[in-house]
Symmetry: C2
Subunit: 370 residues, 2 copies
């Protein structure tokens, strides 16, 4: 393999509108813009993690109009000019394509891309950067698409899985496998078999490829999106851009890059096209308040308080009420989250049902709480 000679750019997909961190997460301040774990926000942690590899001016964010202002405030100065706004949500294939044409314009030609989620937790950032560097190196070769795969720790049915095959290449001492297959959220029994086999990784949405490689694949698999964005490309840096974007974006295919590009390329174009690098980087997508508790608690049954407080016969509680003294008596494994206008109480093992509250608020048209 050759050493990278192209410039490298990170694309942070930051348009998520997750509902599982209500009442803290809202339409304008979703999970990625909150300090869910630690003192800085998920986005700030994502950016800080990438800065040793990417200069701030090479860190791009794709988000929606509601979040753009709050998001910019959290970015380094040079990265604020790299925020791309989608007029409407069109899923990850379109978002990455939009970023790709912007990077190509800024780089005045081809470039190497790392596509990364804004709201994931990574316990081992040093190792993570090593894996990103390895992935970029593999992706430098034209035609290749690379995925970081998380070693599964449980038969989770909420993730997509990546099956690897054959003998690995070695890149910087890390094994790199050809991908046999992408599979979407499996049934529990299937997920158990995947974990047991040792040949599967979770697809955590971390992708690496050249701009040119991605756009060629896009032309093949999503020609409408490809052609529309190529047309938009000529407006970048001009006054006509905003209007052209608005005209264009709603027409793009609303589909994930996993389905539209990675699965199809793997299935239709065979080996030596898509690669997976297993990464033991202490990853979590932090899917609920329960996941936050598990990340933060240093021992089973510990009470996690965001403030001063006192507990009596209480264990395993996550009590987020940062400006108040919290007193808990005789309660166990609860999640309590307080904000200036809302209060949530639920058992940790019901934390995924917080989305039901958000749905009820939508039905009641209580927009100020969304």
């Amino acid at each position: 393999m050759t050493r990278p000679t192209l410039t490298t750019h990170a694309i942070i997909l930051a348009g998520g509108r997750g509902t599982r961190f209500w009442p803290r997460s809202r339409t304008r301040t979703p999970k990625q813009l909150l300090n869910i774990v630690g003192k800085t926000t998920m986005l700030q942690q994502t950016v800080a993690r990438l800065r040793p590899i990417f200069p701030a001016g090479h860190i791009w964010s794709v988000t929606n109009t509601e979040q753009a202002a709050a998001l910019r405030k959290q970015l380094p100065l040079a990265a604020r000019r790299r925020v791309l706004t989608e007029p409407v949500g069109r899923n990850t294939a379109a978002a990455i394509a939009l970023a790709a044409i912007h990077v190509r314009h800024a780089a005045r030609g081809d470039a190497l891309l790392a596509v990364l989620p804004a709201d994931h937790y990574i316990a081992r950032p040093e190792l993570y950067r090593e894996m990103v560097r390895a992935a970029l190196q593999v992706a430098l070769e034209p035609e290749r698409m690379v995925v970081l795969g998380i070693l599964p720790t449980r038969p989770d049915t909420g993730f997509g899985y990546v099956e690897r095959m054959g003998e690995p290449l070695q890149v910087n001492g890390h094994p790199v496998y050809a991908v046999r297959r992408f599979t979407e959220k499996p049934q529990l029994e299937i997920a158990r078999q995947y974990v047991a086999s040792g040949n599967y990784q979770w697809n955590a949405g971390m992708f690496f490829w050249r701009v040119s490689t991605f756009l060629v694949a896009l032309k093949k698999f999503l020609p409408t999106t490809h052609d529309a964005l190529e047309a938009l490309s000529s407006h970048i840096g001009k006054r006509s851009y905003d209007a052209a974007l608005k005209r264009t974006y709603g027409k793009l295919e609303n589909i994930s890059v996993d389905y539209a590009v990675l699965e199809r390329a793997t299935r239709e174009e065979g080996a030596s096209r898509v690669f997976v690098i297993p990464a033991e980087i202490g990853w979590s997508d932090i899917g609920s308040w329960a996941a936050v508790y598990e990340l933060v608690a240093r021992q089973p049954g510990e009470n996690i308080l965001a403030s001063d407080g006192h507990t009596v016969d209480a264990t395993g509680n996550f009590l987020w009420s940062p400006d108040k003294f919290v007193a808990a008596i005789g309660v166990h494994n609860l999640v309590v989250v307080e904000t200036p206008d809302a209060l949530l109480i639920c058992p940790r093992d019901r934390a995924q049902d917080v989305s039901k509250i958000v749905k009820a608020l939508e039905e009641k048209k209580l927009k100020h709480l969304l």
Copy 2:
């Protein structure tokens, strides 16, 4: 019996510093000054209940220096001038005696007194007033001390019990019994026997007697208190009063009127001295957040919310967070109480342990939370 000819005065004992309604109740704003049940405060409800019988200028309150300002604000204008402040707490015998000498001064002689707690709930105020009128009529007779007794609904070990005896007098159609004995908080087995016998009422701290009757009893049973307050009496209405009160009050016996006067009078002076009138007035001392839930819930398992909210698979919860939208998922029989600086979470059946939190705050010297 003769009709009342003396003026009647109510003495509201409002110096309680209960800890069981933390975090709402604080040193300066204890239970009686809060809207625990309904829109007005316990004190305001107590006063409103009494107004059809007592003019506002005949409603006296005894409290401590911390609460006096907040208490005055809740009283009718004429009653604000009737607030008596204890420099230090000296329990109910001294508080009633202090009020007695003030009433005697205001009435320029003897008067009829109703001594009543500030922080109890009464579901049937009309019947309550009938009982108060009957009790005042019985107490008009010199030497007599009268108690309203609550028909016990459970073998509660937290109350004192009053045993009645013999055949009742009838006053305004209500039976009035001589008291055989006062007994303090009994063991559970004893309490069960009391309830089963039908001869016992709870002592709810509602007493009726002439000023003269009370002071004579006081002279016999608590001569130090009696003599000190008689001496203080000459300072009432003078500039020297505050200094004299401060000099005097700390020296008074620190004892309840139940122990010091009622029990001893019953034991030592026999029948025709102390009377009890059974009163089915829907009384509750509202001893904890759990008691509030039981008063307010119209059916078992109902969720009580102080604000707008949404519940999913949640039953029997008391959720007090008046300015926030409250969401509860999968929790049962919890008490959650939120104030600007504190948040309490406990099961309803642990509500009495809230005092443990207050104790911990005292130990931690977190005075701003007390």
